[in-house]
Amino acid sequence: MRFPLAVAVVLALLPLGLPPYAMTLLTEALILGLFAMSLDLMVGYARLISFGHAAAYGFGAYASGNFLLHTSMPLPCAVLLSGLLGGVVAIPVGWVCTQARGISFSMLTLAYAQLLYAVAFKWTAVTGASDGLAGIPRNPGPFGVTWWDTKAGFYYLTFAYLACAFLLCRDLVRSPFGAVLRGIRENEAKTIALGYNTRRYKIAIVAISYGFAGLAGALYAPFAGFANTELLFWLLSGQVLIMVIVGGTGTLIGPIIGAIFFLYVQQKLSNYTDSWALFFGVIFIAVVLFMPEGIWGLLRSRFPRRAA
């Protein structure tokens, strides 16, 4: 409880002392943090492993990109609406994917992501095909508000979305619904035998998780000013899964830390070598072998009293 608060305070104060390029990096880290946290809802709480989470992220990015390019919808509304839309569209996807379990479920999520990737290449009117959508503006309003035009402004906007999403997700995993998810994670057959329609819970968490991932993608489009098919690619799905595992599954805050760590290491390593992914791979293997509960798990065991 106190630790997330401390992280929040640090993140809120950081813009005051950071150079602009670091601000940009940190904003991207928070967006990816939101993305990773959304995946943790599925992976860490219901053991539903998505290999295609980029589908939701890319979907959100294209949705908000289109809203911002073609309407005068204010930026915060476009982002929120894209996230919601992502969640709603994910309901039938969840319905299909939860027909299967375990690795088959994962492969179905991957299949959906690749399907969307293929569609994005063909549907030029909406996605700009291989060129993507460029020049996505940060629409003003409501009431002519424009403070997110600056680096610091957009950072705070992202931070606000992340903080709200975190509080919502934390409430979710602590609710009766969250208790049932843990039951599904630990022993689905028993959860059914106790009288829960686990299928519905799984579809619901897929939709919620995809919705938050869509929100992250929807923030990314106006942040970067563009959206392209890479945001739907399986490489990103793999990277976000790595962020979740490195940060610590089933903790919500861990994946946010994992995303910041991922981006930081990527930045540092790519100064020295193009094959930074190779070195990150080594870090990933080390984490899986020696810190199975991730960075956050390690911190928590070091400072047991400070963790909630």
Binding site: S175, A179, G183, E186, A193, L194
Partner: protein, 249 residues
């Protein structure tokens, strides 16, 4: 009216008949054991009653309602709670959380995705009652996966009880227990059944356990009922002797 009525319940897997036209009535307040040699279809019968497996033929009526086409989770919601032959718990959750999750499923607000203080308090109250009834209060905080096998078996019964079921189905409650643990578990169960408020269907291998706990016994052999009656009748039945008891009585 009987609480549970099975009519010509049959399950075929290809050419193999696992459960063969079983007809059975279970009255309110009755404790009935289903016995039979390995492969007699006892667990299959449980799966058919609880809806884990769909019947090929026949019907399951429960509290006057036909449940034959109802999925497992809905049958449980109607008031059937079961334990598994192989212990089935949430190993990383504490015993209390295990039982709370069981009790929560009887709450209309079991699914709400925010808050839920009242749901948890209510579940904890019913859970604590069940823990106490089975003498498990002292292990409430321990992760279920780390409990002794005997306590795990009883925890599963406590979870079923916390759901305040109309019908309790126990699949070999003493399976895998040592002699001492079995004796202990049987004492606890006998105490539980003595209150007379439970209707129980149990599968059991251990004849001593069966004769101590059950009012009525149904004997299955190759999926079919070959005898049905009170323990004395069953002990005396020649067909049962040949098929299964091997001169135990």
């Amino acid at each position: 009216m009987a609480l549970l009525e099975l009519d010509d319940l049959t399950k075929r897997y290809g050419g193999i008949v696992a459960v063969d036209h079983v007809t059975m009535r279970l009255e309110q307040g009755e404790v009935r054991a289903v016995i039979g040699p390995n492969g007699a279809g006892k667990t299959s019968l449980f799966h058919l009653i609880t809806g884990v497996v769909k019947a090929t033929e026949g019907s399951v009526r429960f509290a006057g309602q036909d449940l034959s086409s109802m999925p497992a989770h809905q049958r449980c919601q109607r008031g059937m709670s079961r334990t598994f032959q192989l212990t089935s718990l949430f190993p990383e959750l504490s015993a209390r959380d295990n039982i709370s999750l069981a009790a929560q499923s009887r709450d209309a607000k079991r699914w709400i995705p925010f808050g839920g203080g009242a749901v948890f308090r209510d579940a904890a109250r019913r859970g604590d009652e069940a823990l106490q009834r089975l003498g498990l209060t002292h292990i409430a905080e321990r992760p279920a996966g780390l409990l002794s096998h005997g306590d795990q078996r009883l925890l599963e019964v406590a979870m079923a009880l916390a759901q305040q079921p109309k019908l309790l189905l126990l699949d070999e409650p003493t399976q895998g227990l040592s002699v001492e643990e079995t004796a202990q578990a049987v004492d606890v169960l006998a105490g539980l059944f003595a209150a007379g408020d439970l209707t129980v269907l149990l599968v059991e291998h251990d004849m001593e356990v069966v004769f101590r706990l059950a009012h009525k016994i149904t004997v299955l052999h190759r999926g079919a009922v070959i005898a049905d009656g009170d323990p004395e009748t069953i002990k005396a039945d020649e067909g049962v002797q040949n098929a299964y008891l091997g001169g135990f009585a």
